[in-house]
């Protein structure tokens, strides 16, 4: 029998923090979870006084799929594809942060080529992520041309990454102790072409947006947060940097090859929506600068470590030697044996501090996987950026927060 859900038999999934207005003129409205102005399934229950937001109660969880529970039923290797689906705008950063955490626990040191490649691909992903964020948030303010320009470049990046990994968005390219495979022929030449095109297109975005009266009116002094408040609410990444604090894990706690690179940490002044836009634009330039350095630094050599605890033996050995066959079998069935212990490793993802807290009980399956997802933490303080501004500002503030449902809701 088909059951049609009507409002009569559908229970309310959330309990709002308030259900009566605080003043006589107040009215409570529900925004989302599926709303054209929220590019992400998020529900905001807001008390309005006229056009002004007095209070806001932010609910997420509409994309919750039990990521952490599911991980406990997989080997350390086979959960890598789930990790892709956290921040699906920059899946490679998730891959590498997770692999880094497992490698730390196993005391595995990755090869130099992998170290530089991971750095290069993290920065490449950051460009794609920032482009998605800026494109979506300016489109919601009416900037269709800028959206199309940004999406054009982003799609070249996606196709280029598909050449490398076989997938446009969810790459599953990281491996414990290395990468899935090396760069294909001609990949770096195409990368250079895309970076040149990037400069051409990003110049047009600057021309369209930076001094655009409408854009400035909608973003300047909207959604303002101070450094102190941002830290209090756990904000990291471009949102914290937009307040003027030069806090970047790539500089502060260098990992991968970042200590060898020359780059700046762009910061804002006011901590408003315009600054968040501009910090992301500048960060993309820095990423391009880093990628260009890395292309010249990339050493030759193997990409996977020679460690039979985590790296699969070569296929021809699996077919010809019993030891390699057993090795392969054990890695597939039991998973890599990770020494008992716990680890917290954080990378600077496009949205902020992406931390993996892993607990191993010494077997091939994790005892606990916990993700410190920047988007989730940012949603915890979002109400501070909405209260006191206009209802229409919810759109622009939410856009520059870059909430990614996949990592927020897990």
């Amino acid at each position: 029998m088909t059951v049609r859900n009507t409002s009569d038999n559908l229970p309310n999934p959330v309990r709002p923090a308030f259900d009566t207005p605080s003043t006589e003129d107040g009215v409570i409205v529900n925004i989302g979870p599926s709303h054209p102005a929220t590019h992400g399934t998020l529900q905001i229950i807001a008390e309005l006084n006229g056009e002004r937001v007095v209070r806001a109660d932010v609910h997420c969880g509409y994309l919750h799929r039990g990521f952490e529970k599911e991980c406990e039923a997989h080997t350390w290797h086979t959960l890598i594809p789930f990790v892709d689906r956290l921040n699906y705008c920059s899946a490679l950063i998730n891959n590498f942060a997770y692999c880094d955490a497992v490698e730390t626990l196993m005391d595995v040191e990755i090869t130099p080529r992998t170290r530089y490649l991971r750095t290069l691909l993290s920065e490449y992903s950051r460009i794609a992520d920032h482009m998605t964020c800026i494109a979506a948030s300016v489109m919601e303010l009416g900037a269709m041309t800028a959206f199309l320009y940004l999406m054009t470049i982003r799609d070249w990046i996606y196709e280029h990454l598909a050449d490398l990994t076989g997938a446009r968005v969810t790459y599953s390219y990281g491996r414990i102790g290395g990468l899935a495979h090396d760069l294909p022929e001609g990949w770096l030449e195409r990368l250079e072409e895309i970076l040149d095109e990037y400069e051409e297109y990003i110049g047009r975005i600057h021309g369209l947006m930076d001094r655009n009266r409408i854009f400035i009116d909608r973003t300047r002094d909207v959604g303002v947060i101070s450094t102190e408040q941002a830290v209090h609410w756990g904000f990291t990444g471009p949102i914290l940097r937009s307040t003027g604090a030069a806090r970047d894990l790539r500089r502060d706690t260098p990992y991968l090859a970042y200590s060898e690179l020359d780059f700046e940490v762009p910061v804002g002044i006011n901590g408003d929506n315009y600054d968040r836009y501009y910090v992301r634009m500048r960060e993309m330039d820095e990423s391009v600068h880093m990628i260009r350095q890395l292309m010249h630094m990339l050493p030759k050599g193997p990409i996977n470590v020679d460690d039979r605890r985590c790296t699969f033996p070569e296929k021809h050995r699996v077919y010809t030697e019993i030891e390699s066959l057993i090795n392969h079998f054990k890695l597939v069935i039991d998973g890599p044996q990770v020494p008992a212990g716990e680890v917290y490793r954080a990378h600077e993802a496009a949205n902020g501090e992406l931390g993996f807290y892993l607990v191993s009980d010494g077997t091939g399956t994790p005892h606990r996987v916990h993700v410190r997802a920047p988007s989730f933490v940012h949603m915890g303080g979002l109400h501070k950026l909405l209260e006191g501004y206009q209802l229409a500002d919810v759109v622009s503030t939410f856009g520059t927060m870059n909430m990614i449902g996949g990592e927020c809701d897990r």
Partner: protein
């Protein structure tokens, strides 16, 4: 400089009878749950750990006390991390809330509460955040079967 800070913090905590050791790039501290609020205050006010990164719990069903509640803190000035860990029993899995010290704790305590059933004394807003009102059980506990489904909206047949 940052190593000095961690070493001073370690010495201070060991003086107070805590277990504190360096592990994988951070200082891991084991404390009794009564000391949580004071230790968190010491970290924030005495040693500049201003960024509350994370709270979660780990379920050890065969162990008594059953749960570890795990906190991570970061110092934006010295760029170092500290992990606080406290064990609570399955019958009384309650710790003090850190919301008065860190706003960021509010959302994460709600998540930890719904996922593992850890109570946070003093936090009066422990509504579900990733799950929905009326969800039964705590899915990240080891005795919650992965296959169990509780759809709020009935599946189409």
């Amino acid at each position: 400089m940052s190593a000095d800070l961690l070493e001073r913090l370690r010495a201070r905590l060991v003086d107070e009878g805590r277990e504190a050791a360096f592990a994988h790039g951070l200082l891991a501290v084991q404390i009794p749950r009564e000391a949580l609020l004071d230790t968190a205050k010491l970290l924030k006010e005495g040693f500049g750990f201003d960024l509350f990164l994370d709270v979660t719990a780990v379920d050890w069903p065969d162990r008594d006390p059953r749960f570890d509640v795990v906190y991570h803190f970061y110092s934006t000035r010295d760029h170092v991390r500290v992990r606080l860990k406290t064990a609570v029993t399955g019958t009384d899995p309650v710790v003090d809330t850190l919301v008065p010290l860190f706003g960021a704790a509010a959302y994460m305590e709600r998540e930890c509460h719904e996922m593992l059933g850890i109570g946070f004394r003093g936090n009066d807003d422990l509504r579900p955040i990733l799950l929905y009102e009326g969800f039964e059980g705590h899915p990240l506990r080891k005795d919650y079967p992965k296959e169990r489904e509780q759809p709020l909206v009935r599946y189409r047949e």
